[in-house]
Point group: C2
Chain length 426, copies 2
C-alpha cells in the first residue's frame, strides 16, 4: 500500500536535512552570542489560546484537533502566545529583562505556495521586561547579525523600520476613531502586496473621505525620518522613539542595512510600537522576517503589564533567497567521515569492523564496507561519503600494517596499526 | 485570560531546554560518528499510514486531525512508517545500505505517567538494505556507544537481545498455528510488565494446553545461548543468527553490556528477526529503548522486498535514569557568556553597547546591562549569566582603558581598549 505525503509538508532527505540544520544551527549560534537563552513549548495548545490575539488570518488557518477528553486543541501557528503563557507562569522568578529565543516548528493550514508551507520552522527572539528602544534595536541588530553571518549584505536586503504608535498618532490626528485603528492596520499592511488601485479601493471603503485617504498615502510614502516633520510633532514620544531606534542601529554598526519605511504595519494584532520587516532589495519575495513591540500581550494572556519586543523569521522565504544568492552552495558543509575502512578479503573483515568501532568510540566518524568488493569500488564508496582518509586492511595486516590513503591528495602510506591507533587516541 | 498548558505536554524553560539539547546533541553526535545520516519527515501524515503496521496500541493512541479538504491526518506516533514511505519513494537512487538517523518529536494520546508523555522526542537509527546480522549488531553497538558516552556502564544498564524468528520456530514446533503468532507476541511482550499469575491467565486464554504454556514459560526463562539447545536445533538459521549477533557484540567490545533474553518480544507488529531492549539493571523503569529487524516493512508500504533493522530511544525514560544516576549534574554544560559589559555611568553606556555588538559580530557571546546600576549589582548579573570575563567601562575609558575582570579568579587588569580588541580579533 503506497501512501503519499500530505501536501504542503516536506520530506527532509539527508541533503535537505543538511540545509535545515545549517539554517537552524546558525539561528542558534547567533542567538547565543547575542545573549539569548533557548526555550520551547508544546506543539499543540488549547485552541482558544490562539484566538486571543493572533489575528484573523492566523485563526482561519489553524490545524485543530480534539483530545480524548473532548478538549479543542490546535497545532501552534506561532510561538508568541506560548511565550506569553510560559513567561506569565513564572513572571516573579525570572530575572528581567528576559532574553529568550526559540526555533519552533509551526503549522498553518493555508494554500501551499512559494515561500508558504503548511509546516515550517521559525526563528523567534524576544526581549521581555525592557521598555527602552535599545531593546527594539537589539532585536533588529541580532536579526542583521544572523543575515550578515550567512553572507547577505546591505545590497541584498533592507530592514524596513516603522512605528505603529506613530501611525496611530497620525491617524488619530486625521480624525480616525481609535476603535477603527486595528482594522485599518490590517488594510495598510497589504499596501505592497496589492495592486495600488485595489488597495485604495479597500482603504476607501473604511475611510470615505478622499482627502484623508490621500493624506494617509502621503504619510506612507515618506522614506526618511526628517520628512516626518510635515506630518507629526517632532517632539512627540512616538517620533523620538523611532528616531532613537534608527540612530541606535547606526551606532551599532548596522545602519547601512536599515531604512525608515512607514509602509511597514505588520498583520498581527498585538503590535503596539516599533515594527519592522526585512525584505530582499529586489522586493520579489515576501518578507524574510518581521517583528516589533507588543506592550500589552502578557497582560492579554492574564499576566502583569510587562512590555516585550521580538522577531520571527521563517525558513521558507529565507531558503529561497539563499538559493537565489547561491549562498548555500558556498557555505553548506558537506557530510564528512574521518575514516572509511576498506578490506578486500573475508579474513580481514572482523579486523576492519573492530577497528571501525574503536575509531567511533574514540570520537571519529567512521564507516566500513558491508560487502567485500574490489578495492576500487570501496574507494568510490569512501569518496561518496566524503571520507578524509581510507584505511585499507589488506595482506600487510598479517604484519600488523595498515595502508592509509589520504582521499584528497591521493597519497598512501603503510603504517604500523598500533602506532597509528595510539597516535590518534593521544 | 489565563490558559494552562495541555496535560502530558512539556514547557521547556531554558534549564529544561538545556537538558533536551544535551540529550539530542548527544544522539546526533553518536549517530554521525557511527556513519548515519540525518533525515526527518512531516509532523503529520495521512491517518491510514499509521493503521498499516503500527500495532493496535499505537493506533488507539493517535492524535487525529482533519484538514480543510476533509482528509484524515494524524500526528506521528513513531517515525518508522515515514521512513518506509521516504525510502520507497527513492528506493532506486539511494545507495545501499541506507544508514539513516532521526530525532523526531512524536505524539501519543495516552494517559500521562512516569516515563510516558503525550509529546516526546525519540532517537531513531535504521539500516536498510543489509541482511547481515552485522547490521543488527551495528544498530546495537551504536545504541551502546551513546549510552556509554553519557556515562552509563554495564553495571547500570543491560541490552537484552532476542529473536522473534527463533521464538516463532519454537512456537510452531509446539504446534501453534502461524496465524496466531502475532497475537501471542503481544501477550509475551507483557511478561515483565504484568504480575505472573495475570500473565499466565491471559496466555492460557490463547493457549488452552497447560503443558504448552509451561514449555513456553521455560523457553522464556532461558538466559544464555547454550541453554537454547534444549529447545531448538543448534544448526537452525534463527539460532545461528542470534548467536552471531551476540558474538559480534563481544567482538565489537560491548559484550559486557549484552545478554540473551527470550523475554524480549517487542509490542510493534512489524518485527521479524532480532529484537532487543535496553533496561536499567535495577529493572525499575520501562525499557530505555528497543528495536529490531523488520524485513517486510518496506514491502508493506508498497515498496520492494528490502530488509531493515533499527532502534528507537525516547527522551522520557532516559531523562529519569539520568536524574537517578546524577549524570545530568555531572555533564550538563552550563550556559556561558564570554563577556559581560558593565558600566556605571550613562555617558559610557553607548560605548558599552557598541563594544558588546563588536564582540558579538566577532563570534563572542556577550551581554550588557540595560540598567545603569551599581557595579556590584552588574557583577552579580555577570556571574548569574556565567560570564568568563566582565569588561568594566568606567572613568579610565576617557584614556581608552578598560578594566577586565576574570570572573573565576577575580583578578582584574586595566588594558588599552584597542589593543584588547585587536588581540581578540586576531
Amino acid at each position: 500500500m503506497k501512501i503519499p505525503p500530505v501536501k504542503g509538508t516536506r520530506d527532509f532527505y539527508p541533503p535537505e536535512m543538511a540545509v535545515r540544520n545549517w539554517i537552524i544551527d546558525g539561528w542558534k549560534k547567533v542567538s547565543v552570542r547575542n545573549g539569548f537563552e533557548e526555550y520551547d513549548g508544546p506543539i499543540f495548545e488549547y485552541l482558544k489560546m490562539f484566538q486571543i490575539k493572533s489575528g484573523d488570518e492566523i485563526v482561519d488557518q489553524l490545524f485543530s484537533l480534539r483530545d480524548r477528553g473532548g478538549r479543542d486543541l490546535a497545532l501552534r501557528p506561532e510561538i508568541t502566545p506560548t511565550l506569553a503563557r510560559m513567561v506569565n507562569q513564572r513572571i516573579n522568578s525570572l530575572p528581567k529583562p528576559i532574553k529568550w529565543f526559540s526555533v519552533p516548528r509551526l503549522f498553518r493550514a493555508e494554500r501551499p505556495q512559494k515561500g508558504r508551507l503548511r509546516e515550517f520552522f521559525q526563528w523567534n527572539i524576544d526581549i521581555i521586561g525592557e521598555d527602552s528602544p535599545l531593546a527594539d534595536t537589539e532585536v533588529i541588530f541580532t536579526t542583521v547579525d544572523y543575515l550578515r553571518e550567512i553572507g547577505l549584505t546591505s545590497k541584498d536586503i533592507k530592514v524596513k523600520v516603522s512605528s505603529r504608535e506613530l501611525l496611530a498618532d497620525y491617524l488619530i490626528s486625521l480624525g480616525i476613531p481609535e476603535d477603527k485603528l486595528e482594522s485599518i492596520y490590517v488594510i495598510l499592511d497589504k499596501k505592497d502586496k496589492l495592486p495600488s488601485d485595489t488597495f485604495e479601493k479597500i482603504l476607501g471603503e473604511q475611510i470615505p473621505d478622499k482627502n484623508t485617504v490621500k493624506k494617509i498615502l502621503d504619510f506612507m510614502s515618506v522614506d526618511s525620518i526628517p520628512q516626518l516633520k510635515d506630518f507629526v510633532e517632532e517632539g512627540s514620544g512616538a517620533f523620538l522613539n523611532v528616531k532613537c531606534v534608527l540612530d541606535n542601529l547606526d551606532m551599532m554598526g548596522v545602519g547601512d542595512f536599515c531604512v525608515y519605511d512607514p509602509g511597514i504595519v505588520r498583520g498581527l494584532a498585538y503590535y503596539t510600537g516599533i515594527v519592522f520587516e526585512v525584505h530582499d532589495v529586489a522586493s520579489e519575495l515576501r518578507a524574510i522576517c518581521g517583528g516589533g513591540r507588543y506592550d500589552n500581550l502578557l497582560q492579554d494572556f492574564g499576566g502583569p503589564p510587562i512590555s516585550g519586543t521580538g522577531m520571527g523569521m521563517g525558513d521558507a522565504v529565507l531558503g529561497i533567497l539563499l538559493e537565489e544568492k547561491k549562498l548555500l552552495q558556498k557555505q553548506l558543509p558537506r557530510r564528512r567521515l574521518d575514516f572509511f575502512l576498506a578490506c578486500v578479503d573475508e579474513d580481514n573483515k572482523e579486523a576492519a569492523v573492530k577497528l571501525t568501532m574503536k575509531l567511533r568510540s574514540a570520537g571519529f566518524a567512521a564507516n566500513f564496507s558491508y560487502k567485500i568488493t574490489k578495492l576500487g569500488k570501496q574507494l568510490k564508496q569512501a569518496s561518496e561519503q566524503n571520507a578524509g582518509k581510507c584505511i585499507i586492511i589488506g595482506d600487510e595486516f598479517k604484519d600488523n600494517k595498515l595502508a592509509v590513503k589520504d582521499m584528497s591528495s591521493g597519497e598512501q602510506e603503510l603504517v604500523d596499526a598500533d602506532e597509528f591507533l595510539s597516535g590518534l587516541m593521544s
